[in-house]
Subunit: 209 residues, 8 copies
């Protein structure tokens, strides 16, 4: 938080014991805490008192401890996703923003194979300061979105898929090679990173005042 | 031609001597001939008489020998390309079709970063029986096209680009992972293959009559 | 279905709850439904009433809801597979076609290491308008088939195998690099995509009448 | 420019004839023009009159036509580079920003193997709204910078290097996997893309007023 | 041990029967034994008497049989790790050294995104003869350490991570491409190899006396 | 030659000076010499006297010095190639065998897209003790050949091709994943290695008598 | 068996039902049968009567049905392996040979890090007509063996290992790039393929008499 | 040199103008200078006075300016190489050491396909404190050497080769996956890095006195 962004705890590679100790410390010191990639079986294995204190979301593998700031709509941020399968990282981004008091607009299931679905949101999207676009498979969505809006576009490639799409490298490369100018990209499935970048936007747009 | 598709000569890996011998044979027997991937320096090194007899196109690296059938509009085939850089394979497809007497509709520079360009051709595209889509970089175009048209969609990923796009693997994987149903794909830069597939369509749609 | 191809539901990445909701909607509205990549354990976890209503096939991971059109033999489509291991995607293609009322000819276990097996089907294959070829490992079959038939050839590389064949990239690359002209390729294991392309063929060959 | 970002011309894959025609059009219509990845031999082959009209930079392969807006310091943007070898993309970013009237602060040769070089710029960096970080090889610099500053961090992985670093994939993956929260990434060597993203920041921070 | 380095037993790919037989032999002959990558379920399946005799560590998957030499501080070796997730290989290195009687200094959780954490250990690190650096993700730590210390730097890339970091290839390539001179690298997660190299250092620095 | 196989000189990575020195030594000692991958420009730069003494073949990049044993037909070895583009490695194999006094049967241009070409050689192939099969692109030929013959089958994947075939990895993987039992494989373009393996066959079949 | 090599059944990708049907057929017709890659859980799920009739080996995942020919020592074949971890494919090769009546010499645990172990078998190895070398990790063993023996050398790269060795691609590439002349290679873990190639050797060395 | 290792100038990615300026500075200040990867055409393009002052070696692409310390034999370092093709990085390592006053023992052309060549140097190698092993292709040499010597073993994988060996990734992976304990690895062709690591050894073994 020396830079205005609270570090989250990356839970997945940690043992349940390690995670419980981190939570216990925070509870003892009455600190807020954000955990990412906390797997359902890890969550299930935590002490009951910790589970009761945590706000856990199994779709995004995130957990939060402590009060949340009342949400505000500024800066204007949208989280757009192409298909049902991209809802994990999209929700991760949404909740990380919520943890910092920002309420993002969610726009789901607007993959480019049915353009009219995306175009019906065009006006709303053009008013956004930051648009986070979660897309797997061919990740065509960030390119189309970036051609429509003047704000920042952050692509989160997702890993769901099979064949050449499995693991998300195809989606990642498509996002990096986007034919639209100024698309920025995070690691595969890194909704957390996209949200942190949006927090940096908030820092910077506020002029550090 | 046992299957109704004349084999072309893949010139690039052959020596000039080998190519000249193949052309000489065809000229002696008064046969038509189609050469693909004939590099400018290979073409330049051929005997003057052969150069005079060939219809060579440096953009698509194709050369044709002999009379061309008068072009017809059926089946209805379009060759769509995303950017200037995709014009090589697009022109290759066009000329291979022309060699078989089919006049394709060319639609260029309709990359998805500026959707209105593509949408202005929507009516024409929806009447096509086969749409060949040449696209490099993120190859988002085949997915968008396939969402708009009922006919066959053949994606030709192209190799121009830098970074993760260099060589065309990113475009290939994006085309294969397309979120639109029924997109078929050729090897990178294989406009010839796409045209041959369209000829197979003509064979099959004609019912082999 | 704006383009004459009904969208299927890609079940594998969805939660059982999401899938059940989609099926419930369709049942409530008396709509037909096609699900692909529905894993046995996902299927098993659905409500009994939904399981009873679904026609599920564990080999191809497909499920259908609602009446099926009476099957017809036109257009003439064959689904050819190289080995026992390719029967998953082959059956997926067959059932997606059946869902649209097309009865395909199935030709199995004709890998090129025993050429006589394939050659015994040569006459039948040459009458087909579309031949879908499912093959893993070295995926030599599409090249041999495409040398024998005048119709459309759609290769579906399959993922079964070990060592360099594991995951299907070797089969995919072999199909894309086919030495036979006009072979088109889908993503690995994408029998659904091949069937959709065949439906596009039916659309286009019918002239959109 | 429908979205407030002028499209640049990607010159490298185009023929000299195509490039000259584009420049001629712009000169005839008295329009400004930005070309990227214009190779020295392409530049050299342009008509003398065009060469005289262009402001060409061989280090960044960029060329500009027309008057440049007088530079301003807002938003506050720094372009940081790790080694001499990263100066190509760094200069590309600088000049694309200059073309839009933004004067960026350049900080060069601050690779992490000599930390004191970077730390001496710490105060200046912490005041920046956007920091573009160009780094090849192990691309450790974006992670270190992002740990020091509250503003936006855009990593441009560069391609110079040998062995595992050749082509820039190692640098790209390191940037994407950064252990610092909120680092965003462009395609390899894409200084243009980073600058466009900074222009999107300017759009968005200005609130589209 | 012909070369002064006792071979360890790589347990993971062996059956429990094979491992138990090796341990039984050592116990019968009253020999010491070091096992690496012994998975918890393998350990659990060993005979109780063997389990009682073994000093097993589930974090590093190592087991030791027999008396350990009393630990000494020479040569001066540090094991540095970037994050909690790197503690597996770090502990493996520590225990392999301990098995040979060398007590290494452990410095954990000093990833470069928070430079001050590393810099607070700078004096200690500069006195070390060998610094083993365990880091995953972007593996920026070895480069920064190597810029600070005059002794040997051995990077152990780790495999924990997701997206492009999964499996450790990104960390490996970053370590190999380090911009700091004289960084040496082991296979991914190979804390054992790093410790053996440190033992070779001890051999060599002692002049084989 | 301790093992009955004379080592060849791999010329390509050597300087002309190094190559000339090796040839001079052999000439001085009146020894025979075989050079592989000697590029035309390297050959051209050798002293005229050396060039006169060498039997050089630009298609296979091989050069031989000294008398050749009179050729014999035993063991019975065929070198089969799929296309014109595979003639480089095929000729390399032929000449390396000739250098050891074995006259191989050459069968060219029998790619599987035109099966009848291969089948017309079936009787001859079935009598062979070793069949070396050179094939690029999809490398379907080794699988088909191995289904037809009882003798040894050695696949030499070749590198000519574009897109996914460029460099030969697709052909290599297809050959390794062959669905026919007992296909053995060399490095890409390694006609020399295939010939050496055939010499090992001759050694072994002769019983080392 | 048209080519003198009985096809094995590749069990792993088949369902238990499919496998049981194949075995039932063979038992009904009193035919011998060889199954490869039959997993323990697949084996366990077979009908008890079939399990009783099968000779199953869990280390090599092979099963045989029917009488085995009495073993003979000709041709002289050795199966060499580098480490305990390579015993799976080594045993697979041994048993496939045994199924055809050939008794191979097994030489285990002779990895090159302890050269003396290999060198103690040098005389025996030099008398072999075929040496099958199973090695994972760095796969240095085939190169060293091929430098010592005049007979055929068949490398079987194995998949056991971690980091860059995981999956066997590193071992495969090392075997293909072997600096020793005439090393031939199979797919990763393909002991079956190596044995079939040795049977082809037996066919060919026997002159097909 | 804050850490006792003088930074070299990596010349290849720099323009001739940049290199000349760096040399001019050093000459003006009478400083010593080491340049690596200075290509022959870059060297040729330098001012004649600079060329006269430089000690340039075209085989290793290194150049040195200024007096060299008189060479000493301590620490005892050997540079071993497998084939003629590895002499570039081997010589680079030798000259970087020489620049720091260390005279290394050179042992060339001892690839493992002819074991007796290496074994004849066994005594000498076993006395070395550091052995730098340069090897391309299958890179089997580091494993064999590490099994023979008690000192530090640093593998430098080299890039020369074709097919799977091209670029050096196969050699790199083999070195990393070495079955011998304690092999350390540098980037491909990084003889400079290996020499710097040896200088770190000298620092550390000297106890920083
Ligand atoms: N989902 C995530 N993806 C990437 N980085 C994360 C994620 N969650 C937490 N982090 C970062 O990982 C670091 C925490 O690592 P650790 O100390 O191992 O918990 C912090 O720098 C976090 O900002
Ligand atoms: N097996 C499949 N392979 C590829 N695409 C599929 C498959 N099944 C369904 N789809 C497509 O995936 C999309 C449905 O995604 P979703 O909305 O997540 O169910 C539709 O466009 C379908 O056409
Ligand atoms: N372990 C194996 N590795 C490679 N090919 C095998 C293996 N076992 C059997 N085969 C081959 O796979 C084919 C059998 O496939 P299937 O008809 O699916 O049983 C035959 O051609 C066998 O020669
Ligand atoms: N051949 C080389 N391989 C790797 N790093 C090198 C090489 N030569 C010089 N360096 C390092 O590269 C940096 C010099 O980069 P530069 O400032 O661009 O000259 C220094 O840290 C050197 O230690
Ligand atoms: Mg959907
Ligand atoms: Mg354009
Ligand atoms: Mg079969
Ligand atoms: Mg520098
Ligand atoms: Mg931490
Ligand atoms: Mg041909
Ligand atoms: Mg062992
Ligand atoms: Mg040699």
């Amino acid at each position: 938080d020396r830079i205005g962004i609270e570090e989250a705890v990356l839970a997945q590679p940690k043992s349940v014991g390690q995670i419980a100790a981190i939570i216990a410390d925070a509870m003892a010191e009455d600190r807020r805490l954000l955990l990412t990639r906390l797997q359902p079986d890890q969550h299930q294995a935590l002490p009951a008192a910790q589970r009761a204190a945590l706000d856990y979301c199994a779709m995004s593998y995130t957990a939060m401890l402590g009060a949340r700031p009342s949400p505000r709509d500024m800066p204007r941020i949208a989280v757009v996703s192409a298909g049902t399968s991209d809802s994990g990282p999209a929700t991760e981004a949404q909740r990380v923003l919520a943890y910092s008091g920002i309420s993002a607009t969610m726009i789901a299931d607007v993959g480019v194979a049915g353009l009219w679905r995306l175009l019906s949101h065009q006006d709303s999207l053009q008013r956004m300061q930051v648009v986070i676009v979660c897309a797997g498979m061919d990740a065509a969505l960030p390119s189309v979105v970036a051609g429509l809006v003047p704000g920042m576009v952050i692509a989160v490639p997702t890993s769901v898929g099979y064949g050449v799409a499995a693991g998300g490298r195809a989606a990642l490369d498509a996002a990096l090679a986007s034919c639209a100018p100024g698309v920025l990209v995070t690691n595969i499935d890194n909704g957390y990173g996209a949200a942190c970048a949006a927090l940096r936007f908030a820092n910077a747009a506020g002029g550090f005042t």
